[in-house]
Amino acid sequence: MKTYILTRILLAIPMILIILTIIFFVLRILPGNPVMALLGPKAPPEVVKAMEHQMGLDKPIIVQYGDYLGSILKGDFGVSAYTGVTVIQELMQKFPATLELTIFAMTIAVFIGIFFGTYGAYHFGRTLDIAARVYSIFVYSFPVFWFGIMLQLIFGVWLHWLPVSGRSSPFMIPNHIYTGLYVIDSILNLEWPVLVDTLYHLILPSVTLGVVISSIFVRMVRSNVILSLSSQYVVAARARGAKEKKVIFKHALKNAMAPILTIMGLEFALLLGGAVLTEVTFSWPGIGSYLVTRITYRDFPAIQGAIVFFAMFVAIVSILVDIANAWLDPRVRY
């Protein structure tokens, strides 16, 4: 098992490296001088030169690339040209916001997916199944930002039920930050109003993202559960007199879980893409809105850092999925 996890981690490294390489060169091929963007047009040439030197932009691109890879390996993502703060510091502050959002969104998506998908499969061809399919195909075509705006309008502006932006109300940031996940930090600090406020702010963004992603989960769960429901072991379990709930959840769903998890791992990338748009729509201070802001200013270290974080996030999730698969399926485990 240990070697298995280790190999999976080793396999993830080239992926991160390749993405990083692509972004590194794409960033540099095209016009747009980050130094000028930072200093503004008024900067005298010697200041520009000094800044370029400071950022290593005067070296040949290959050398820059080598330098950058070297420092990334040391965990050094450089200093943001826009704020002067180290990128790792900024990312560590932004990442928990994205993590919190994606965890909640994923939970919602998985819940909807399993519930709707399983019952749709169980009632194959009947009303509930058709409802599940119509839901999945309709929601799939919702642009996530459009859906978010609609929810903001309904629940924030018209009904005044839910906050429509940000992670917290004024003064409602946990006092001590341990993990950066406000839900956990507020519990550790025993700040209950903060916890409530945090959950309150999480509702709309995570529902937006969760629902849009759930469309794929519904169809995945549905088609896989249909397959496993028609397997012999399901019939055999029924023939033993097993209760229907057990048949559906213990046999059909659990067996369908392995392929579902694998695809969920792949769709996680889609979730992250959606997260960027969701963050922008809801003023969510995560890496997504960070990336979008910094792209405008050609903040190379920040953009690269954000991309590496996204890539690592994807890689870690896919490793976790594999581990979960191994845990679920004894054939992989042994």
């Binding site: 080239p14 992926m15 993405i19 960033l27 195909i137 075509s141 990338a269 959606g274 990336l291 979008v292």
Partner: protein, 298 residues
Amino acid sequence: MANTTNTNYGNQMLSSRIGRGFRQLMGDSSGVMTFIGLILLSLFVLMAIFAPYISPYSPVEPSGAPLLSPQWGHIMGTTNLGYDVFSRFIWGSRMALLIAVIATSIAAFIGIPTGLLVGYAGGVTDRIVTMIMDSVYTFPGLILAIAIAAMLGPGVLNISLSIAVVYIPTYYRVIRSQVSTIKSELYVEGARSIGAKNMTIIGKYILPNVLPSTIVVLSMNIADAVMTEAGLSFLGLGIPPPVPDWGYDLAKGQQFLLQNDWWMVVFPGIAIILLVLGFSMFAEGMDEYLNPNIGEKR
């Protein structure tokens, strides 16, 4: 015998399915979906083609007072600068289809041959290219597109290109995996043993077997591309105005939403949803039609 799910009805003609009763249509989901999808698609294609004749006003010139609510003469209202929303709704289909089709074509034109050649060649090349493609494939597509689009700058071709990059691996993977199975099949081995050239084998024996499955991928990808384009222009990375573009209009409309000028958001949103719905229904229906036993792959 007692197989509930995988009833094979692939041998039925598409046309025979049209015109059945509604209940049966809903039951026969692949038929109904392809059908509705096709109707939606042809609606948008017609709209795009005949835009100059249908649209009541020019989409790039103000045609009325700003911020008129939907009314006679401006059935979808006007924008804050007095552009007719309905005209932009119609012309917007051109931009959406154009970019989506260009992007998908670029992706297909790069992805398919690469998949064919690399899959056929196998070996180290295969491993390296596959690793690169897999990396891009697993990375969040929209984020990659955002980064590339921001760097390339605005313009139809640039936007299409940044979307295309995201979908190249999809084609590559589909094609490569099929090629590597087909190439060891008997009839290919046979062709090789009678001395057919590699190019002939690929073109004559492998390509025709592989292409049908790309139809599904193609229409699914166009749906995704429409969505990605909308996302990019929502973030301000799309085509410069006043070129009619739903994503831009939506982003602009969002700024007026709180003043209850809902029409600027709702109509472009509906346009995107319907077009994407058209493509994905068509794709889903086709998928079931072509591979009744495989089920949904995406």
